[in-house]
């Protein structure tokens, strides 16, 4: 019985090794999403800064 359990635990190592990758996924996913949007060209460009007023004020 114990041997079987150990063998089963050993076999679990393969799927378990994906855990660290799954753990960092939330840290990586947002940047992937952003990047995909960029590549699709759907990301909204930030509005350019308002030009500095150079004309004389109307007094």
């Amino acid at each position: 019985m114990r041997r079987r359990l150990r063998r089963a635990a050993a076999f679990l190592l393969v799927p378990l090794s994906a855990l660290p990758l799954a753990a960092v996924a939330p840290a990586v996913a947002p940047s992937v999403e952003r990047r995909l949007d960029e590549l699709r060209g759907t990301v909204e460009q930030a509005a350019p800064p308002a030009p500095t007023r150079t004309e004389p004020t109307n007094r």
């Binding site: 076999f11 190592l13 393969v14 799927p15 090794s17 994906a18 990758l21 840290a27 990586v28 995909l36």
Partner: protein, 431 residues
């Protein structure tokens, strides 16, 4: 059945992992390409690693063509009283015609009971010849004495802490049926697998070093290091340079270790060198951190010296083999710089970069090596997980040894034994 299922699961996971890595890399391709060092290094490393795996796939162990040359098996030993008798007995059990096989044990001035153990085995079987060097002269002197003591066409070397499968020698000599093969490297498995976490970590490393790297090199008959554990040489290929090799010097100091890589270079210059994955030896690997790190430092020092020699002639070999050899040297030299840049310099000094991505990349590579190990073995071995630990161990400790090894490449110090000429390694796989 369960083992087979596990191999399939591992293969699917490996494929998914590789696809993920390619897709992720593709997303940031133009960003990565903007950073010259990362772009070039990344492309070269990935190409090199993938090429090793791909080139190892068509590799097949040499077929038994019934070749039976006269062979002398030389086993040099220095202070190996614990294992020498067992190793010599494994030679006596070899399945090879007795009239074509000489067994030569060379005692390199041991201060323990090694010589007595050799004589015990020789008393049991007159087939074992014992040569005494008297005083400790070094492994090369012991090996050279063994070569000079015989006139066999093929000389095989077995480390004193390695034992052979009964059919190992027969399989090792088959490639010599080709007249232009000058040396053949046998396969080495870890014998003391469960001695410690460190020995378990070395299992996947040995697998990759032999079944992947040497198999890939063998495709072009250009194996760059015939492991000291178990290898054979054509007498004609080594005798002309035997004196030079025995007394090799580097930057004015005697080259006392790296005998295997050095002898391979001697042969590779003018002959073909192959790997026989079915000629299996079992070797004892270091089980303590101190012993292991010193062994690795020695290997890196001899790698430094022999890479300089290899680089001068390997361009004459097959273009793929030559390119691989130069790339392997370049990667080893640049890897520590890239690690510092990715993990420390970019995030701490320049305030950019993504060290997490670098570490995840290392993890994925380690898992890929481990899964490949699972896929290639008939039975499922959970020790593959230690291979993951090894990659981080490599990043934490061994990567940094490269420059220290280069700076101290002239050193002839063994590191773990008193500083005399004969502190030669029983373990020189030169990986």
């Amino acid at each position: 059945m369960a083992d087979r299922a596990m191999r399939v699961v591992a293969a699917v996971y490996l494929a998914a992992l590789l696809a993920l890595a390619v897709a992720y890399h593709g997303l940031w391709f133009d960003e990565v390409a903007g950073d010259t060092l990362f772009a070039v290094y990344g492309a070269v490393v990935v190409s090199y690693i993938v090429s090793r795996f791909l080139l190892s796939l068509p590799y097949r162990p040499p077929r038994d063509v019934g070749h039976e040359p006269r062979v002398a098996v030389v086993m040099p030993a220095f202070n190996e009283q614990r294992v020498i008798a067992r190793s010599l007995r494994s030679l006596l059990a070899l399945d090879y015609p007795v009239d074509k096989l000489e067994l030569v044990a060379v005692d390199d001035g041991s201060t323990d009971a090694t010589l007595a153990r050799m004589r015990e085995v020789a008393d049991e079987s007159p087939r074992v010849r014992v040569i005494e060097l008297g005083r400790n002269q070094g492994k090369r002197a012991a090996m050279a004495a063994g070569i000079r003591a015989t006139d066999a066409e093929i000389v095989a070397f077995v480390d004193s802490d390695s034992s052979l499968e009964p059919d190992a020698l027969r399989k090792l000599v088959q490639p010599f049926a080709e007249a232009d093969v000058g040396a053949v490297c046998g396969h080495a498995d870890v014998a003391n697998v469960d001695d410690s976490w460190l020995t378990r970590m070395q299992v996947v490393r040995y697998f990759v070093a032999f079944q992947v790297v040497k198999a890939a090199e063998s495709l072009f008959a250009c194996v760059t290091c015939c492991s000291g554990c178990f290898s054979a040489y054509r007498r004609e290929a080594i005798v002309p340079r035997l004196d030079w090799w025995e007394h090799q010097r580097f930057l004015g100091a005697p080259a006392t270790f790296g005998d295997d890589r050095s002898l391979t270079n001697v042969v590779l210059r003018g002959w073909r060198v192959r790997y026989a994955s079915n000629a299996v030896s079992h070797t004892v690997v270091p089980d303590t951190l101190r012993q292991f790190l010193r062994q690795q430092l020695r290997w890196k020092r001899s790698w430094t010296r022999e890479s300089l020699i290899l680089a001068r002639f390997v361009w004459r070999k097959h273009p793929v083999a030559a390119l691989s050899a130069y790339v392997a040297i370049a990667i080893a030299l640049i890897a520590p710089v890239v690690a510092v840049r990715a993990l420390l310099w970019l995030p701490l000094v320049e305030g950019r970069g993504a060290p997490l991505i670098y570490v995840v990349g290392i993890y994925m590579l380690a898992v890929a090596y481990g899964l490949y190990y699972v896929v290639r073995r008939r039975t499922y071995d959970p020790r593959w997980v230690y291979g993951i630990a090894f990659c981080f161990f490599y990043l934490g400790f061994m990567l940094w040894q490269t420059y220290w090894a280069i700076l101290t490449a002239r050193s002839s110090s063994w590191g773990t034994r008193p500083s005399t000429a004969g502190r030669q390694p029983a373990l020189e796989t030169g990986a």
